[in-house]
């Protein structure tokens, strides 16, 4: 295996020496992945290529959670007419700003001979530069030519050189080559493929920084360094040493912890007047700060995410947590006391409120979500023949949520799903739908005892300990990170796929950096199965 790998690398280096572009020159290269940019990836890419002043305003096509990750759906979804319409308008809006009088001096890398005449040399330089940045590889001759030609025509029609650049740039920004990250690969042995250098650069960059590859990474790709172990390690270390790693890992945690759920959470303002849109944003930020602090800044044990008493609060959150907020500035570190009953992210406002009803907590929603997010155990779909009417008769004296749920659990048909998820949720019943602490509901004291997989515990802190000590939890982090990076359904991934990285993770005492580094440097990381060829005579609608 190792020999094969080295052979492929030298093949790349050879091509690079002759000054060719391996990504495009390799005749037998295949596209093994197409990843539609997420909204955040798109925004970060634009900001890094053109500067943070460029305003991106428009609606992005929503993603879809596959195997617990939206990122996995980027390898499945296409662009609908509604989505394209929006991308097209955004492209024009960005191109207008880039070529505007205000920005052209620093964003257009050359000055035309005349501002009212075509200048193919300058236009070529412009499209060459931004083409590389946007497509994450050099433009082909045809791609470049068609843009220069368009610019020339537009300049002639309008008498404005920059109008030509504007329209040419707009074509790049709405091209499939920008909107999708195309992962090209070349054969590596009889059955497998391995990503070409530019595709490697993009995969690394979007994983680590959630953005398009920077100039140094593109240079390393062009020089073939990413296909050599030493060169790859050098770039991985560089990316990981940068504070921008925070941005990349925020994107990962945001996806894994399903924080986008907040986009569609509404709370009953009569029952919970403390809730607001700002509260949702604060809760999301609190959880991300906790995760980033533990994983990157403190290089801590990721299992502590389940139990830590450290967090960050702002004025909004202080109101829910019942903490007097008398600090300057927006955010302040806060340690919960043991009697507060809190336990890591499990009891943060985010997790508790996202998986609840508008006016009431939901043990089932919380249980289902936490099992999927932290243990990679999705709740199965009910079998075809479930007769839901067996739980129909809940008209009796079942007053509490627990009693009603237990009725499900004692019924054999329902038990298979409900015993799976409900105990976790029931242990969190000390917290209401917006995450506030309580010990009674409707005047009755709340029973927060639970038994899962033969282990009994009580309350959130008991749950936190159970999760902390459950080996499925760190394995789930590794599985999700692997799936996130490769854009695959986490439920389809064999444990052997991320075995090496997981081993390093566990041996390091569950340090995120160790997991990330070993994943990016493992032999399999840039491997891909051969794509299934289209059937002969496939009918295409766009032809």
């Amino acid at each position: 295996m190792r020999k094969k790998f080295v052979f492929v690398i030298s093949a790349f280096l050879g091509l690079a020496v002759f000054g060719q572009v391996p990504a495009l020159a390799a005749g037998d290269s295949e596209v093994v992945g197409l990843r539609r940019l997420t909204e955040q990836e798109y925004r970060n890419s634009i900001a890094d290529i053109f500067g943070k002043d460029i305003v991106v305003q428009g609606v992005f096509e929503p993603g879809k959670r596959v195997g617990g990750l939206i990122e996995a759906s980027t390898a499945i979804l296409s662009i609908t007419p509604v989505g394209f319409d929006s991308y097209s308008k955004m492209a024009d809006g960005i191109a207008v700003q880039v070529t505007s009088e205000k920005n052209r001096a620093h964003l257009v890398p050359c000055k035309p001979k005349s501002a009212s005449q075509p200048d193919d040399a300058c236009a070529t330089q412009f499209f060459d530069h931004y083409g590389l940045m946007l497509f994450r590889r050099p433009l082909t001759g045809d791609e470049l030519k068609s843009r220069v030609k368009l610019a020339e025509n537009m300049t002639k029609a309008s008498g404005d050189f920059y109008a030509g650049l504007h329209y040419g740039l707009a074509t790049l920004l709405q091209s499939s080559e920008f909107l999708f990250r195309k992962e090209s690969a070349v054969p590596a042995g009889a059955k497998d493929y391995t990503l070409d250098p530019y595709s490697r650069a993009a995969r690394l960059s979007y994983l680590m920084w959630d953005t398009t590859p920077d100039a140094e990474l593109l240079r390393a790709a062009e020089a073939g360094e990413l296909n050599a172990p030493g060169g790859l390690e050098k770039q991985v270390d560089r990316l990981m040493a940068s504070p921008r790693l925070d941005v990349g890992m925020r994107a990962f945690f945001s996806d894994m912890l399903e924080l986008d759920t907040f986009d569609n959470v509404s709370k009953d303002s009569l029952l919970y007047p403390k809730w607001s849109v700002a509260m949702a944003a604060s809760a999301r930020e609190e959880t991300l700060r906790t995760a980033i602090d533990l994983s990157l800044h403190d290089n801590g044990d990721m299992r502590d995410l389940m139990t830590t008493n450290k967090t960050y609060i702002n004025r909004n959150l202080a109101a829910i947590y019942g903490v007097p907020f008398s600090f300057d500035g927006d955010w302040v570190a806060h340690d919960f006391a043991p009697q507060d009953g809190r336990s890591g992210v499990l009891t943060q406002v985010s997790m508790l409120s996202m998986f609840s009803h508008p006016g009431r907590s939901s043990p089932t929603k919380r249980g289902v979500a936490l099992m999927e997010i932290f243990l990679c155990e999705p709740t199965p779909t009910p079998p075809n023949n479930v007769d839901f009417s067996v739980v129909n008769n809940t008209n009796g004296p079942l007053k509490t949520v627990r009693e009603r749920l237990l009725a499900h659990a004692t019924n054999s048909v329902c038990a298979s799903c409900h015993t799976h998820s409900d105990p976790i949720g029931l242990s969190l019943e000390d917290f209401d739908t917006i995450g506030g602490y309580r010990t009674t509901e409707n005047g009755q004291s709340i029973d927060v005892s639970a038994t899962i997989q033969g282990k009994s515990f009580a309350g959130a802190q008991g749950l936190g300990r159970f999760m902390h000590d459950n080996p499925k939890y760190p394995a789930c982090i590794a599985r999700k990170l692997y799936s996130y990076a490769k854009g695959v359904d986490s439920e389809d991934v064999e444990p052997s796929a991320f075995k090496t990285a997981y081993k390093a993770f566990s041996e390091s005492g569950y340090r995120m950096r160790s997991l990330l580094k070993n994943l990016a440097e493992s032999a399999d990381f840039f491997g891909a199965p051969a794509p299934a060829a289209p059937a002969n005579g496939t009918k295409l609608a766009s032809q």
Partner: protein, 444 residues
């Protein structure tokens, strides 16, 4: 994501240059309603869907008598003003064959495609509105438009098949901007001439489309299909530009209002009651001015999360937790939520019916196919899922009937609807729901 209102209303073609004048349509039919005829254009027949979650309560919604002049039921009361303009189908069945009963999804898939879905949250084929749009939408600016009154772009039941759901406009402002913002050609403008900006954008699109041949190379089967979809979308954008360069020939008796203010759009019933009529009106105006011929409106997800402030359970949780009242024989709070759904449907129909067209109204020249996810939500039951079809399809659909429970598959209604829309198809649906039998007695 929050969009800046001023930004949206600015023409992106000219960048920051000009704030667009708000479109103002003020052209009337003559006293005999003949203006359309004068332009030589026929009034097109439009297609709409209306989605609401969680069904209705059988004891309260199924009319006691069948056929014409049936006795209106308690839950259909809000639709009383449209009784003569709609058909009610009770006792329809969803057959899931060997597929799982995806809670709150199997019924949606069956009603929208005639096929029992094999995956949750995905349709196994193109949805009915897209099948219809393929035939009736040629030459309009938008092939179809979807809107969500609960503010969620994912609450769209309009799909190209698989995971390719067409996202819904999630606020009245974004719906307005799409329809009447930049690119909208005001038919009432006397000195109409094509906008040169549109022609420039056409050149841009043609360069994008030229890349197709190269991009389609070296792709695996599934990625090839995805790129094919991308380039189909590019072509639809080109069609949209072409439509924007044509002199508008639909002269409708409507006034396009100023852009709506930003407002809270979520699942709280008081907000839905403000947003639903507004989005309905914008959709109706888009149909009247031929911006599109297919408009899809939803008021919730399946398993509706609508709630009345102060009710800790909300709609969905009530359906599962509220006891059946032993004397009434149904769940009283759920029954009240059911009625709210019908009120929202009525609000949509009202906006279609207030726009006069020719010798009738926009509703008379439309079909509205209203469907839901379940029949009896408490147990996710699918038998007897209610289907309510409004509008006369320009005289091709007889209306005013209650078609009472013959146990047919829901796909028969879908097939009937498509026949009334003029589609030349023999059958519709798949598996046990495949059918070749429309309700011919309703077709003119």
């Amino acid at each position: 994501m929050k969009l800046d209102r001023r930004f949206l209303l600015r023409g992106t073609c000219q960048g920051a240059a000009a704030v667009m004048a708000l479109p103002f349509l003020d052209c009337f039919l003559d006293s005999k309603g003949q203006a359309l005829a004068a332009t030589g254009a026929r009034i097109p027949t439009r297609f709409n869907t209306f989605f609401y979650g969680l069904g209705l309560t059988k004891a309260l919604w199924v009319p006691k008598t069948a056929g014409l002049d049936y006795e209106t039921s308690i839950q259909l009361k809000p639709l009383e003003p449209f009784k003569k303009k709609m058909n009610v189908f009770s006792g329809m069945r969803v057959l899931i064959d060997d597929n799982p009963n995806f809670q709150h999804w199997s019924g949606v898939g069956a009603c929208a495609t005639g096929i029992s879905p094999t995956r949750t949250s995905e349709f196994d084929s193109k949805t009915i509105d897209q099948t219809v749009a393929d035939v009736i939408s040629r030459g309009t600016r938008f092939k179809s438009v979807a809107a969500s009154c609960a503010g969620d772009p994912k609450q769209s039941y309009s799909s190209l098949g698989g995971a390719n759901t067409l996202p819904a406009e999630a606020t009245p402002l974004s719906l307005y901007t799409r329809l009447f913002g930049p690119g909208f050609q005001d038919p009432s403008k006397g000195d109409w001439k094509p906008d040169p900006q549109v022609m420039l954008q056409q050149s841009v699109l043609s360069v994008v489309a030229e890349d197709r041949k190269r991009v389609m190379q070296n792709l695996g089967a599934s990625d090839q299909a995805r790129m094919d979809q991308y380039f189909t979308s590019v072509r639809e954008a080109e069609d949209q530009m072409a439509a924007e360069l044509k002199r508008p020939d639909i002269v409708a008796k409507v006034t396009i209002p100023a852009a709506p203010e930003e407002m809270v759009v979520n699942n709280a019933l008081p907000n839905m009651r403000k947003v639903t009529p507004l989005m309905s009106r914008l959709g109706a105006l888009a149909l009247a001015t031929d911006q599109t011929r297919v408009f899809n409106l939803s008021v919730s997800e399946p398993g509706s999360q609508i709630f009345v402030p102060g009710d800790p359970l909300g709609y969905h949780q009530s359906t599962h937790e509220e006891p059946i009242d032993p004397i009434l024989g149904y769940q009283p709070r759920v029954a009240q939520y059911n009625v709210y759904s019908m009120e929202l449907y009525a609000a949509f129909l009202k906006e279609l019916d207030v726009i006069p067209e020719g010798d009738g109204t926009l509703l008379d020249h439309s079909l509205v196919y209203a469907f839901t996810d379940v029949s009896f939500a408490k147990i996710h039951a699918l038998d007897g899922i209610p289907l309510l079809v409004a509008g006369g399809a320009s005289g091709r659909m007889k209306t005013g009937y209650h078609i009472a429970g013959d146990g047919s598959a829901v796909s028969r209604v879908g097939l009937t609807v498509q026949k009334a829309m003029g589609l030349s198809i023999d059958g519709w649906g798949g598996g046990s729901m495949e059918t070749k039998s429309p309700y011919t007695e309703l077709l003119v």
